[in-house]
Homo-oligomer: 151 residues x 3
């Protein structure tokens, strides 16, 4: 089953790639590696604002991380021309906008990690780092960047 079939099965429609808001680009290819820029969580097309351990629950953060993963897959679709050209999801850096006492960044991060495995199967299993940051551009609750290997 192709990655596109799995996306359809999961009821996921890929978004158009976001135009960067500054002098940078959504992705750069170097050899077989694709480096994707940090993508921030959005809801209804706007930054999903809030801190985990503050206004947002872990469940909401996990949902936000899943949404960022959908956007990252949308960027991979453009970068790799075809998602079936992806050989491996290599590494994720998952930033969680965290109030001082919040320590469940790994549970928030699972929203992205689980979707990638659901969609890509074994080659979706990745190395990752997840941690709490002081803030994220536009006050968004989650930001994720990604390294993938292309065939």
């Amino acid at each position: 089953m192709s990655v596109y079939d799995k996306l359809k099965q999961a009821g996921i429609t890929l978004p158009p790639i976001s135009a960067p808001v500054a002098a940078f680009v959504p992705y750069v290819r170097s050899g077989k590696l694709l480096f994707l820029s940090g993508h921030i969580a959005k809801r209804d097309g706007k930054p999903w604002v809030g801190q985990l351990g503050g206004q947002l629950t872990t469940a909401q953060g996990k949902q936000a991380a899943r949404g960022v993963a959908v956007d990252l897959i949308g960027t991979l679709h453009v970068a790799a021309e075809n998602l079936d050209n992806i050989d491996r999801i290599v590494k994720l850096m998952i930033l969680v906008n965290s109030a001082p006492g919040f320590t469940e960044q790994h549970m928030v991060a699972n929203g992205a990690s689980e979707l990638l495995v659901e969609v890509f199967g074994d080659i979706g299993a990745h190395a990752r780092s997840a941690f709490g940051v002081a803030q994220i551009p536009f006050g968004s609750c989650v930001e994720i960047d990604l390294v993938a290997e292309i065939k």
Copy 2:
């Protein structure tokens, strides 16, 4: 026009590469990739101390990020032997020392991103992640690391 001409045109003199303060090195080459260590913002040769959203304005942060980019180019000059050997600026991670309510990390980051495009042209356009951190070594306001591809 070579990268050095563009630097001269922008009135930029490259600094000597900083000696690392610990058991690490300013850069490592692996295959065609150069991985540069995090460089912190300095002013008059000392760490430029302060938080965005606290003592420092977004404009000052942007200026600090531009200064870090100059230092990163100085390190690239040594690492690549000649800046015209750089094939692509691949990825930046831009850390902004942020007071709780500050959400303009992307605008601070543009100080570095815009300089790289100014100096390197199209191959200076990079993927990036920018976010707010709780602190930076020596209390510096901005820290940036970089991955570049060499010819």
Copy 3:
């Protein structure tokens, strides 16, 4: 002297590789690069909880970072099959769980950097970024990820 001899000389026993707590893996290989997931500081098998500049001193943080480096070497041992297959420690990202005023992240980070040079010699000297984060999963005091090159 092999890396294993140096570990023995330093009195270090490698731990078994930790099972990941979620839909991700401890490492991914892409070409000659090994990308290791963020490893958190532990003591007596449990997360070593606390903030630098809060409950923990810089000396304790440095010890925690050294412990994380031991765990990272344990993962490298599995990933590379033999540590003598490691060609270079390329890059570390060192996250320090930091109370607002703490600015000695570089000194904490040295705990990991110095061990890698002690064990691997010249090829252990790496690029790195060290900074203060708002929180780390499970409230751990230090988290480190690593990129290495394999022969």
